[in-house]
Amino acid sequence: MLLHILDGQLRLPLDVCLRWARAFREWYQRPSTREARGLKLLREWLSSEQLAQYDAHGYFDVTGCHSGKRYRIRYGTATNVYELDYAGHAKLGWCFMPREYLVAGDVMLAQKIALETDECAALAVAKNFAPR
């Protein structure tokens, strides 16, 4: 009986607390405005094929303008560019990014433009690494 009364009295504050906790979690995990702005810009500059690939897999492929090689750009700000082999597997990682701190969407867009318009210059500054 006592437990039953206590249960009824505690349920309401517990519900409120849970709602607050859920709201706080959503607020805390929301993408920041600048992060969202970077991703919006990236989406505007991706080709329709790249955008579809990014939406489906979280990465997109670009073709190097000089070599014709395929590269995969994953979400991130560093060690996120991979050279692909003929079968589409990552065979070598390339690490390069803008000198100033930028959000992920901006970094990925700069990497895409660099590989599609001046691949040799991008790779000249990049450091390579073994893909994971």
């Binding site: 810009l41 901006d106 700069a110």
Partner: protein, 73 residues
């Protein structure tokens, strides 16, 4: 309305200008030169949407995007 989009730590900053206005055009060209001199790469898009790096100010470009010099990680 044309736009210069400059990537920065806040995402980006957009500078809109009227390409029909001679003074606004001059100001935009000055900003273009300052940014490229500071090491930014400028890119525009072709009609089919492919990015093109440009070394000179294109007053007809709807959007010109600037990103900082690339470095190895």
């Amino acid at each position: 309305m044309a736009t210069l989009i400059v990537m920065n730590h806040n995402g980006d900053t957009r500078h809109n200008f009227d390409a029909e206005d001679a003074r606004a055009l001059l100001k935009a060209e000055k900003r273009f030169k300052e940014l490229t001199r500071a090491g930014f790469t400028a890119a525009t898009r072709t009609a089919s949407g492919e990015p093109v790096v440009t070394r000179t100010f294109d007053p007809t470009a709807e959007e010109t995007l600037f990103f900082p010099r690339l470095v190895g990680g």
